[in-house]
Symmetry: C2
């Protein structure tokens, strides 16, 4: 039931005592990423200037360029964090042969997905609110090959003729049903214990699939 906890921290220099804010990141590079994530969620990627990021970090624009060559590279790294979350689940799914088995595995994957969304809510929110920016780096960057086939695999699943259309649509519905309360709704259920909220969402998602 527990998530694989992928190698999200591969970037930061891990020789630093880990006691900063929410996430364990002491390195300047990690703090830049955290601040950027916040601002990109609040204002959007395009509307957030490097000056703002630097200001909140207590430094200057030029200093940022020592850690990231281009502004794009910041959101790219955030993108990789998100993809790391989905990789294991998708690998698991790809191991199954035909559509029938994949459909059978879906409810279990949704459970994992819910846990993942609860744990890394901000990352999913970032993606949802900056979808255009995320898509733009797909064209530009060399990391394309190793990454976007992930989305290809998902597309392949949802368009697989071996699975009845109604079943495929409901699979997408289940994802939407999860994202709605956990990501989309601003802080509508902020006062509800995450575990309780997750349990309700779990039930709803399963009802979508079982109908």
């Amino acid at each position: 039931m527990s998530l694989p906890t992928p190698a999200v921290d591969a970037d930061s220099t891990e020789s630093v005592p880990r006691a900063r804010r929410g996430r364990p990141r002491g390195s300047t590079r990690g703090r830049i990423l955290d601040i950027a994530q916040e601002l990109f969620i609040e204002q959007g990627y395009e509307k957030t200037s490097l000056r703002e990021i630097a200001e909140r970090l207590g430094t200057t624009k030029a200093a940022l360029y020592h850690h990231f060559q281009r502004k794009e590279d910041i959101i790219l790294e955030l993108h990789l964090r998100l993809h790391a979350l989905g990789r294991d689940a998708l690998d698991e799914l790809a191991a199954l042969q035909d559509g029938q088995e994949q459909v059978a595995a879906w409810p279990g994957l949704i459970d994992q997905f819910i846990d993942s969304v609860v744990e890394h809510q901000a990352l999913f929110l970032l993606h949802q609110r900056n979808r255009n920016a995320f898509e733009r780096i797909l064209d530009n960057d060399r990391h394309r090959a190793e990454n976007d086939d992930l989305e290809q695999r998902l597309r392949g699943l949802f368009t697989n003729p071996g699975i009845p259309l109604a079943q495929r649509v409901r699979m997408v519905c289940s994802v939407g049903a999860v994202m709605g309360p956990l990501v989309g709704a601003d802080h509508l259920f902020a006062d509800v214990p995450p575990a309780e909220l997750a349990e309700i969402v779990r039930g709803a998602a399963h009802d979508v699939l079982g109908g």
Copy 2:
């Protein structure tokens, strides 16, 4: 079962023969809005320059300023189109007294909502992909009072203690379940007849509510 078809066309000069592209808009102002909507969906509001809009329209930047005082006013008008879609449904909901009745009315509203999303898919997509920009004009603009209480009413419904939490969460889930296949998924089910797709989604949304 049919939607109210709100006064979305209130802006355009309707003395012009209506035979342009998808939507019936001959006026320059209307065409600007259509082009802007496309580009804002493809690239995002911030990343789309007035020069691009003018180019695609076959004119110049300055000409746009004859129709809209500021760039912001373009997305504001698009915003109003969207709000017009939700107003009648929300009014209907507000007429009901207690939570029990509102919960009972929800499945019917979801049906209306699905029809609305199918018919005005682009408008919902625009909103989903430019949420930050839409939120920004709420602060800036004088149209605040008459508009954003709509969202307040929705918030009020979803946080109403008179309705059990599980029921409220599932209501939000149902919205997500609808948005998932109809708006979020890029063109995953583009080859499926809209009516057939809507029917499947309808079933899924009701299963979320009835569980």
